[in-house]
């Protein structure tokens, strides 16, 4: 399984439809750019579409704060949408498709929708999909900015959660 494509629209600083494609041959990709331009927002988008519910992990205080809030010249939008396409040729995800795409939408009204390969589903279905793949919420596959010494400075019980995920 590997990331094939990320499509973002209306999420944080991605006001317009923006996408990034990854190539299977490329194993090490670096994302660069000036302070405040939206690099960590790319990771927030991935964390969000995988079902993240914690506001703290998304650096916001209300769920709707991830929806593009406007700038001096552009108006705020009414919906945030992120979709992530993954290669599933080795059937790591328990679905019979060679490619799986998950999507999450949130409207200003507070309503949210989740999709797997275009089919409306529940958050639960997305979380179950990634169970046991090492791409869970408490696991070590994502390290946020300034969090590199989290594993060693954390209390022993937080460390334990990462070890249990590995077992």
């Amino acid at each position: 399984m590997y990331l094939k494509k990320l499509e973002v629209n209306g999420f944080k600083t991605f006001a317009k439809h923006t996408y990034i494609e990854f190539n299977q041959e490329i194993k090490l990709t670096a994302i660069v750019g000036p302070n405040g331009c939206g690099k960590s927002n790319v990771f927030d988008a991935i964390r969000w579409v995988l079902g993240e519910q914690s506001m703290k992990m998304l650096r916001s205080s209300k769920a709707e704060e991830v929806i593009f809030n406007g700038t001096d010249t552009e108006k705020a939008v009414g919906m945030a949408s992120v979709s992530l396409t993954l290669d599933n040729s080795k059937k790591m995800l328990p679905l019979d498709f060679p490619e799986v795409s998950i999507q999450r939408k949130l409207y200003r009204s507070g309503e949210s929708e989740y999709f797997v390969n275009g089919q409306l589903c529940r958050l639960r279905d997305i979380l179950d999909l990634f169970m046991d793949t090492g791409i869970g919420r408490s696991s070590y596959f994502m390290v946020g900015q300034g969090q590199v010494d989290q594993l060693i400075s954390a209390k022993a019980d937080e460390r334990r959660a990462a070890f249990e995920e590995v077992a």
Binding site: Y19, K27, A30, V32, G33, C37, V42, Y140, D149
Partner: protein, 163 residues
């Protein structure tokens, strides 16, 4: 379940002390847990001994040493159980040039099994990557993505618009 968890911890421990020695070029590190306690609920501590120094409590480590120790443990988890893809946000920020070199050498060893996407400001780490994506704001406050290239003196030039 107990036997399985103990064997996983022992494997993490083995990788942790190997990766620590690789990144620090010496010294020792291990995970510690009380022998007789219940493995499924006891505390798991980290003990480190950077090369040449007496054994240190984690608190006394410098900013860079803590980051490098955190990276060693992270890589140990990845060796024990490879994740299909990983996302690291500026984990090289506290490191000096020599340690960034050791970090990128260790990072490249994972490219067999794992797709790695890392955010960095460090030119050496950029040079180690196979592709670079730039996030820019041609219009203040709105992000757009371009594919970029690193040229000799460390400047970044934008190749083509991605989306």
């Amino acid at each position: 379940a107990r036997r399985e968890f103990t064997s996983t911890l022992t494997e993490i421990q083995k990788h942790f002390s190997e990766t620590f020695q690789e990144l620090f070029e010496g010294g020792q590190a291990r995970l510690l847990w009380p022998e007789e306690a219940d493995i499924l609920s006891c505390d798991i501590d980290v003990w480190v001994h950077p090369p040449g120094k007496k054994n240190t409590s984690l608190q006394l480590l410098s900013g860079g040493e803590k980051a490098l120790t955190g990276i060693a443990l992270l890589f140990a988890l990845l060796k024990t159980r490879p994740a299909p893809f990983v996302l690291f946000d500026e984990i090289d920020a506290p490191l000096d040039d020599a340690n960034v070199g050791r970090f990128t050498r260790a990072l490249k060893k994972f490219t067999e099994s794992t797709q790695m996407i890392i955010i960095t400001h460090n030119k050496r780490t950029m040079a180690a990557a196979q592709t670079l994506y730039g996030v820019t704001m041609p219009q203040k406050g709105i992000s757009s993505l371009v594919s970029v290239k690193l040229i000799e003196d460390g400047k970044i030039i934008s190749e083509k618009k991605v989306s």
